[in-house]
């Protein structure tokens, strides 16, 4: 690891103490030489005089010799004590900051706190922090020789050097791309990418999830939802306003996905930062595009969206009605099997997933666009409720929904996909939703999703203790 010099004042025992020691030795030696020289000069001038003068000359000569002998002895002994003192404090400080650093490292690793850039998606153990007074960048603001708990910036500002003292409240930037990282840098993060081929409705799904989370789920449980990145909040609200006027979201244009940071917290409780992101369909269409999605390295689970109208069987069933609504429905051209194969290829090629190895994260398989052609009645909430009512014994709604959707996928001829999903992913949940609630037909009726939040909550509950506890509380 290269040594990083930060614009801070280093501990006395790690630098200046030794310079001071050297200066003391040099200064003492120079003073002793000068004093001895003075005594010798006096001795020379006294010697030729009377006997008294000779006697005094003797005293001065002895003093000159004594200065050199005792002076050397003094500074040797004193220097040894000085060094011992410096080294003792050096070791104490070293031990102190090492202990604090290791404790912090263990705590952050255990909690899964690490800064991730929403722009370049780099995960770094530490962000670059800015001094609030002078704006100087502190690249390694950790317990170190600059200070165990606090350090002093060159401008004189005291900065917390550890997570335990709210270091995360300082302005910080990504060490790789230098983008400013918005709030809650040092909190637990949950990464959920939303995968699927082009035009499966990822952007609409993401917007509907955020709306459901913000307007219904969070207020009902006393949580507050914020979008810490500047500008994102207004962007999302603008998109929601468009949806409320019956306008579908603009097509995602960027190939590099920009994660949406969602801060979920409740007073008196440690918050979470959800990284939800929507890789643009075009990037996903090319397997190579997946290398941009570095989040897969540390995802908490993934949502795999399926457009039912990309399935050949479904196209055939609705062949007579499909052409009339094709422009509104925008069926994805990439078959679901290919989309899933591309996820696997990308993960094998770029993220060290072995051939045939299982993805050890929850995978929510979500059939979108079920508002079309009455699909909701067949695989949506009404179908689940009907199945529950007809069940002779009380059944778990989640298990029933899983069964209904899975069964439909098999009926549509996606047996291979289901088999592959269940072989490669030990935790698969099947869901059905409509991100827009209806087909966009140019009318001003609001577009409002249904069933969009359940897949995300299922992932969150499987991967994060706070959401798991929330589910248990609701169930009780």
């Amino acid at each position: 690891m290269s040594k990083v010099l930060d614009p801070a004042i280093r501990s006395y025992f790690f630098g200046k103490g030794y310079l001071d020691l050297h200066a003391v030795i040099a200064d003492t030696w120079a003073r002793n030489l000068a004093s001895a020289q003075k005594e010798l000069t006096a001795m020379r001038s006294l010697w030729p005089r009377s006997w008294t003068g000779k006697g005094l000359a003797l005293v001065r000569g002895a003093a000159a010799a004594s200065i050199l002998v005792f002076g050397t002895a003094f500074f040797l002994v004193a220097s040894i004590l000085h060094v011992a003192l410096l080294l003792t404090f050096f070791l104490l400080v070293y031990l102190g900051f090492t202990l604090v650093y290791l404790t912090e490292w263990a705590y952050l690793t255990w909690k899964g706190f690490f800064p991730v850039c929403p722009d370049c998606h780099s995960k770094n153990p530490l962000a670059e922090y800015f001094c609030p007074k002078c704006g100087n960048v502190h690249r390694r603001l950790i317990p170190s020789s600059y200070g165990i708990l606090y350090r002093t910036c060159k401008c004189g500002q005291k900065l917390p050097a550890t997570f335990f003292l709210q270091r995360g409240n300082l302005a910080a930037a990504c060490p790789d791309c230098k983008r400013m990282l918005g709030g809650l840098i040092e909190v637990r993060k949950v990464f959920v990418p939303i995968f699927g081929g082009p035009a499966v409705g990822k952007s609409s799904f993401l917007l509907a999830v955020l709306r459901e989370l913000t307007e219904h789920w969070a207020p009902a449980r006393g949580f507050a939802v914020k979008f810490p990145d500047s500008g994102v909040d207004s962007e999302i609200h603008r998109a929601w306003q468009h949806l409320a006027k019956g306008l579908p979201p603009a097509k995602t244009v960027t190939n590099l996905p920009r994660a949406i940071n969602v801060q979920v917290d409740r007073s008196g409780q440690e918050g979470r930062l959800l990284y939800l992101y929507d890789p643009a369909g075009e990037a996903f269409g090319e397997t190579e595009g997946l290398q941009l999605h570095k989040y897969q390295n540390y995802l908490s689970g993934l949502v795999f969206l399926i457009d039912p109208f990309s399935i050949q069987e479904v196209r055939e069933i609705y062949a007579d009605r499909l052409p009339r609504v094709e422009s509104a429905l925008k069926p994805s051209q990439l078959p679901a099997e290919d989309a899933f194969a591309r996820i696997l290829i990308g993960m094998e090629e770029y993220f060290g997933l072995g051939k045939g190895e299982r993805i050890k994260k929850p995978v929510a398989v979500v059939i979108n666009k079920i508002d079309a052609f009455g699909l909701e009645q067949r695989i949506g909430e009404p179908a689940v409720q009907a199945r529950l009512r007809s069940s002779p014994t009380p059944a778990d709604p989640a298990a029933v929904r899983n069964h209904v959707v899975r069964e439909q996928l098999v009926r549509w001829g996606l047996t291979d996909l289901v088999h592959q999903l269940e072989t490669r992913c030990p935790q698969v949940g099947y869901f059905a939703c409509t991100s827009l609630g209806r087909m966009p037909d140019g009318t001003v009726q609001p577009l409002e999703g249904r069933g969009v939040l359940e897949p995300l909550l299922w992932i969150l509950e499987a991967s994060d203790s706070m959401f798991k506890a929330e589910r248990r509380k609701q169930a009780a």
Binding site: A8, A23, R31
Partner: protein, 57 residues
């Protein structure tokens, strides 16, 4: 007899006194020198040891 007394008593006494005086002079000089050396160290320490961390980086 007087000469013998001078030779055996006075001369050694005088020589002894001279040696004592010289020794005293040397001891006095040594003490003064040691004091001066200690003073020099104290001055050098006071002038150079300043744990003002702002001077370092």
């Amino acid at each position: 007899m007087e000469e013998l007394l001078l030779l055996l008593v006075v001369v050694p006494l005088v020589i002894g006194a001279i040696i004592v005086l010289i020794s005293l002079g040397i001891v006095l000089g040594a003490v003064l020198g040691a004091g001066k050396a200690l003073y020099n160290y104290g001055l050098a320490f006071a002038n150079n040891v300043k744990p003002d961390r702002r001077l370092s980086s």
